[in-house]
């Protein structure tokens, strides 16, 4: 039964229930990721290991293993959550369930920056900074090109199509720059560049910055969740319901660009998370953004944690880049979605 046929109080209860269940699920995936690997941590050892971790002295082998794997899983979680929220925002902004920061070329922009830095043999920190600069650069370029449509909010459908097309073209341009750099790159650096491109969590350090970005974006999204519903339903006519459509579009655009840049900077270009996760959540919980926003972040995080666990165990001891896994799941989902939309 759909939520809206229920009385109002149960809306709140239902939302609390969904978010609570997703939180428990996310915690479970993190624990699962901590236990799974070439050396399995038996379930019986888990409470003692967690106690040691909580006191800050991981002495046993189990505690060390969980510590090691869980910190990688936490990076995956923050990355997945950020990518999923960025996708959800782009979809509300463009009123198109197929929109995704990758389609708009923001992450390809990050790749251009990062690959250029790698080509010039820059330090790891410079590579991150260059990736961020690339992502923000493309976001700014898109913003300038599509500004008129965004500001006026008049031809909402046309404006969204314009932005989407502009994104595809900018993405193609960045893609060709990436190919160019790959073709002139020396043999020794090619492998790390390719791995960066398809997304890899094996070298990603656990940092505070992505969590801060994610928390800020969550606050922004929750504050505007009602308005996002109104815009998703009424497009430009949302103005007549008291929504500052132009300002909201700008906000959504920049926050989702920032989220993408942050995710790509810490873990490389991982595709399709921003597409599949919001789609699955919408299917399961309905299109109300007040429920979708927290649910999407939690499932996005959990999804990428599971994908990463799969990536490092499926052909162990060899590790696959997690981007390959998400793309193999994501591309068929995209095609299925597109086919359904055309019907």
């Amino acid at each position: 039964m759909h939520a809206s046929a229920l009385p109002v109080q149960s809306h709140r209860r239902r939302a609390t229930l969904i978010v609570g269940a997703m939180l428990a699920f996310a915690a479970a995936t993190l624990l699962f990721a901590g236990m799974t690997g070439s050396i399995r941590v038996p379930l019986a050892d888990v409470p003692e290991a967690l106690r040691q971790l909580a006191t800050g002295r991981p002495d046993s082998l189990s505690a060390s293993l969980i510590d090691l794997r869980a910190s990688r899983a936490l990076v995956a979680f923050a990355t997945g959550g950020a990518l999923a929220l960025a996708g959800l925002m782009m979809q509300a902004l463009l009123r198109n369930p197929l929109a995704d920061p990758y389609i708009l070329g923001v992450s390809t922009g990050a790749s251009v920056g990062a690959l250029l830095a790698m080509l010039l043999m820059a330090s790891a920190l410079t590579i991150d900074a260059a990736a961020l600069a690339g992502a923000v650069g493309v976001a700014l370029l898109l913003y300038v090109l599509a500004r008129r449509d965004m500001r006026s909010g008049q031809a909402a459908e046309g404006g969204a199509a314009m932005l989407l097309l502009t994104g595809v073209i900018v993405s193609a341009l960045c893609g060709s720059l990436v190919t160019l750099m790959l073709s002139i790159a020396p043999e020794g650096r090619l492998r790390s560049m390719v791995f960066w491109l398809i997304g890899d969590l094996s070298g990603a350090p656990l940092r505070l910055a992505p969590w801060l970005v994610l928390a800020g974006a969550l606050l922004f999204a929750m504050k505007h969740a009602r308005a996002m519903n109104v815009v998703a339903l009424h497009a430009e006519a949302a103005v007549t319901l008291g929504v500052r459509v132009g300002a909201l579009r700008k906000g959504l655009f920049f926050v989702s660009a920032l989220l993408t840049a942050s995710a790509v900077t810490s873990a490389g270009a991982i595709g399709f998370v921003g597409l599949i996760v919001p789609h699955a959540c919408r299917f399961a919980f309905g299109p109300d953004h007040r429920v979708l926003i927290p649910a999407t972040i939690l499932s996005g995080g959990a999804f990428l944690v599971l994908c990463d666990t799969l990536a490092r165990t499926i052909v162990a001891p060899q590790q696959l880049p997690v981007g390959a896994i998400t793309a193999m799941i994501g591309a068929p989902v995209f095609l299925y979605q597109l086919h359904r939309l055309r019907k």
């Binding site: 759909h2 339903l233 008291g242 309905g286």
Partner: protein
């Protein structure tokens, strides 16, 4: 009391002037029909009145206050707008789409209250679509979707209603009942309705006033008795029109071309 007024309003599309120097006012309890041929600027005028697009010159006032001086949320409690068409990208339910019209009453609140639910259901019942409340809006027929959109307009509970072709896609019975509902809102609750329609007979039956647009800048506004004259209508619509009296009602029919 003047609800909405235009002062020396000029509208243009590209190089073309659609409306020139419109001075016009609609008072509480009046029901206005905007009539003109395709491309005469009817929708442009309505969108300008709603504050969705700027005028080339002049200004619009609602409640004696210029549109730009209103905070958007407060304005949204004064006037509601029905767009000509809509495109549903997401699977919102009918009741969710109507509840979204309660947005201007919820500064800072995350969830609607039970009173909103009540208002939404009453509005759906008024448009005879309350049985569709839990349906996905994308699965509705054109006419059902239009009635749900009008229900959302009612749920917004504004004294001023601006409607772009409300009879669009409705079957005959619902055209008549919807128009009757709008007329009743004006008569009994003192609301102001400004709408665009192509059916002269429906318009003459329920409207108290009429605004004719020529599309080259000329316009004519006044009570139905003065403006809905066959010669004038024929002039503005670009086709000769006959008028018959039938059972105390005026019926307008286009003249057959003699060829």
């Amino acid at each position: 009391m003047t609800m909405i007024s235009a002062h020396d309003l000029t509208l243009s599309a590209g190089q073309r002037t659609l409306v020139q120097g419109l001075d016009w006012a609609a008072r509480a309890g009046e029901c206005w029909s905007i009539i003109g041929r395709n491309g005469a600027g009817k929708s442009t005028l309505l969108r300008t009145l709603a504050g969705l697009q700027p005028a080339a010159a002049g200004m619009v006032q609602i409640g004696g206050r210029a549109l730009n001086d209103w905070p958007l949320e407060e304005l949204a409690r004064q006037r509601a707008f029905l767009a000509q068409s809509r495109h549903d990208a997401f699977a919102y339910t009918v009741i969710e789409s109507v509840l979204s019209a309660r947005h201007p009453y919820h500064a800072g609140r995350y969830w609607e209250g039970s009173d909103d639910q009540q208002i939404a259901m009453t509005s759906l019942a008024a448009m005879e679509v309350d049985d569709l409340a839990a349906r996905d809006v994308r699965t509705l027929s054109g006419g059902e979707r239009q009635r749900v959109a009008i229900a959302a307009l009612l749920a917004q509970q504004t004294p001023l209603l601006l409607l772009d072709e409300p009879a669009n896609a409705l079957d005959l019975a619902h055209q008549v009942s919807t128009m009757g509902l709008l007329a009743r809102l004006c008569r009994e609750q003192g609301k102001t309705v400004v709408m665009i329609g192509h059916d002269l007979n429906l318009a003459s039956r329920i409207s108290s006033h009429c605004l004719l647009l020529m599309g080259d800048g000329r316009w004519q506004a006044g009570a139905v008795a003065d403006t809905m004259q066959p010669a004038l209508l024929g002039d503005y619509l670009g086709h000769p029109i006959d008028m018959l009296e039938h059972g105390g009602r005026r019926i307008f029919i286009p003249k057959e071309s003699s060829a």
